[in-house]
């Protein structure tokens, strides 16, 4: 009984009300917001995850949508209505072919070292290319590889996911097929003994900092 009384002091708002709150916060915020952040801002006892699920459903098929970006959530306009938004379109800096390919390699092979990027492209990565991708906040430094020289690795960012409308790096187009075809492997050249990066690019440590799916 006493416990019940205590609980009622911190009565969580009804779900419909929580949904309104999540809606208001996501509407007002440009950057994706995590469930933890939502909970921190909402009254004690609220469960943003449930409210979020309801809200997402409500916006299905609408002009704006609730989208997942990594482990965070945001509202974005429906892509099929992009044609209405000429005034809002921001000019994206034209990326060189090298930059686009480097970005794709980081996304599909992350965490990946510069040497591996060069190995895949068969050409050295020019100094400006990586710099440009970091500046766009599409890639960032990951953990150093535990191989001789401890080379820096690169991984993609939440900004990258947000920009390309991806829930997680697992949702990259064709990822499963590429992996099944063995094209994401780092095969050493025959005869090249003790290739230093051989075991390091083990599939298991791909997408290491992905958080598991949540409600």
């Amino acid at each position: 009984m006493a416990e019940n009384k205590e609980a009622s002091l911190f009565q969580a708002p009804p779900l419909a009300e929580q949904e309104r709150m999540v809606e208001a916060i996501l509407f007002a915020t440009v950057e994706p917001v995590t469930v933890a952040d939502l909970n921190a801002r909402m009254p004690h006892g609220a469960d943003a995850a449930d409210a979020l699920a309801a809200l997402r459903k409500r916006y299905e098929g609408r002009g704006v949508r609730v989208v997942k970006v990594g482990d965070a959530w945001a509202m974005r306009t429906a892509p099929d209505l992009g044609f209405l938004m000429q005034k809002e379109t921001t000019e994206v800096r034209k990326l060189s072919r090298a930059a686009i390919e480097t970005l794709a390699i980081v996304a599909y092979h992350q965490p990946v070292t510069r040497a591996e990027i060069e190995e895949i492209r068969g050409v050295s990565v020019s100094r400006g290319t990586v710099d440009q991708l970091i500046e766009l906040e599409w890639i960032r430094f990951g953990r150093r590889r535990m191989t001789p020289g401890r080379p820096v690795t690169y991984v993609v960012t939440q900004n990258f996911l947000d920009h390309f409308g991806l829930e997680s790096a697992r949702d990259l187009p064709g990822l499963k097929e590429l992996r099944a075809a063995g094209l994401l492997e780092n095969r050493p050249a025959p005869g090249a003994e003790g290739d230093e990066d051989d075991e390091a690019l083990d599939q298991s440590d791909m997408f290491e900092d992905e958080t598991p799916e949540e409600g």
Binding site: F27, A28, T29, V30, A74, M75, R76, T77, A78, P79, G82, M85, E88, T89, T90, V92, R97, A98, I100, E101, L103, A104, I105, A107, Y108, T113, R114, A115, E118, E119, I120, R121, G122, V123, S124, S126, I134, E135, R140, F141, G149, P151, V152, D162, H163, F164, G165, L166, L172, P173, G174, L178, A181, G182, L183, R187, A189, P190, G191, E196
Partner: protein, 261 residues
């Protein structure tokens, strides 16, 4: 390419020259890119590609480039040499005494590299064809910040941080930290000066006359120089080189060379 940032050991000019050459080869981005393009003429699945035929095509391309006096980047020539080697392996019957990888293994690896590069090209195209923020879908135009609870937070990016560090570590006038000594005469300096002057000393002379030129005007400089010169005098007296006297408290301090000093 095995070592990260290996190319960085080359001087800038050399690297720029190398990059210019790569661009010169009909816009190909390296030998692998060229091979991939050549492979399209075979119009088959990359897994079924004839590496031998490809090697021949590549060598012909390089030959052609030489005839046209196009200077090929070293990468292209290295690949040409490797493909010539591969070609010979593929054509000659295997030597049982040879322990190296077989021509088939090498060819299969090259086919794998080409297929992987092709796959990344296609993936990059798929990625760029996706709906993009600011082009196909949009963020909130008026993010709300109605209730202005003004709280200042400071921010910096990783680039700021690294550039800041780079700035410090490459500063031209980088020197170990030391106090600004423009207005300070050290005892060592005074001692050095006094030693040089002792030889020319005659009778008792005022200590203040031994201050270095230009140090008597500014009060801070005068104080520092006086203290240093006095300390140096004590050192020299202790060493038996000079004598010191003062007639009464606060009167001028006088020194002279010791007769046998």
């Amino acid at each position: 390419m095995s070592d990260e940032f290996d190319d960085d050991r080359l001087p800038v000019e050399e690297r720029l020259a190398a990059e210019a050459l790569i661009v010169d080869v009909d816009g190909f981005e390296g030998p692998l890119d060229l091979l991939l393009t050549l492979s399209r003429t075979q119009k088959v699945d990359l897994r079924k590609i004839s590496v031998l035929q490809l090697a021949v095509q590549y060598l012909r391309f390089v030959e052609e480039a030489r005839k046209l006096r196009i200077e090929l980047a070293a990468d292209y020539l290295v690949m040409a040499a490797w493909l010539a080697f591969l070609k010979s392996r593929l054509l000659l019957p295997p030597d049982p005494a040879d322990e190296g990888p077989s021509g088939e293994d090498l060819a299969a690896h090259l086919a794998f590299q080409l297929e992987r590069l092709q796959a990344m090209r296609e993936s990059a195209a798929k990625l760029m064809a996706r709906d993009q923020k600011g082009r196909d879908f949009f963020v909130r135009g008026i993010p709300e910040d109605v209730e202005r609870v003004r709280r200042v937070t400071y921010t910096a990016t990783l680039l700021d941080l690294m550039q800041g560090y780079a700035r410090i570590r490459t500063r031209d006038d980088f020197r170990p930290y030391s106090m600004d000594r423009e207005h300070v005469l050290t005892m060592e300096q005074a001692l050095e000066r006094m030693r040089g002057l002792i030889g020319f000393m005659g009778e008792w002379a005022d200590l203040s006359s031994f201050l270095p030129e230009g140090w008597g005007l500014d009060p801070a400089r005068r104080r520092s120089a006086t203290a240093a010169t006095f300390a140096a005098s004590l050192e020299l007296a202790k060493a038996g080189r000079i004598e010191i006297r003062q007639d009464e408290t606060f009167s001028p301090i006088q020194i002279r060379k010791k007769a046998d000093g």
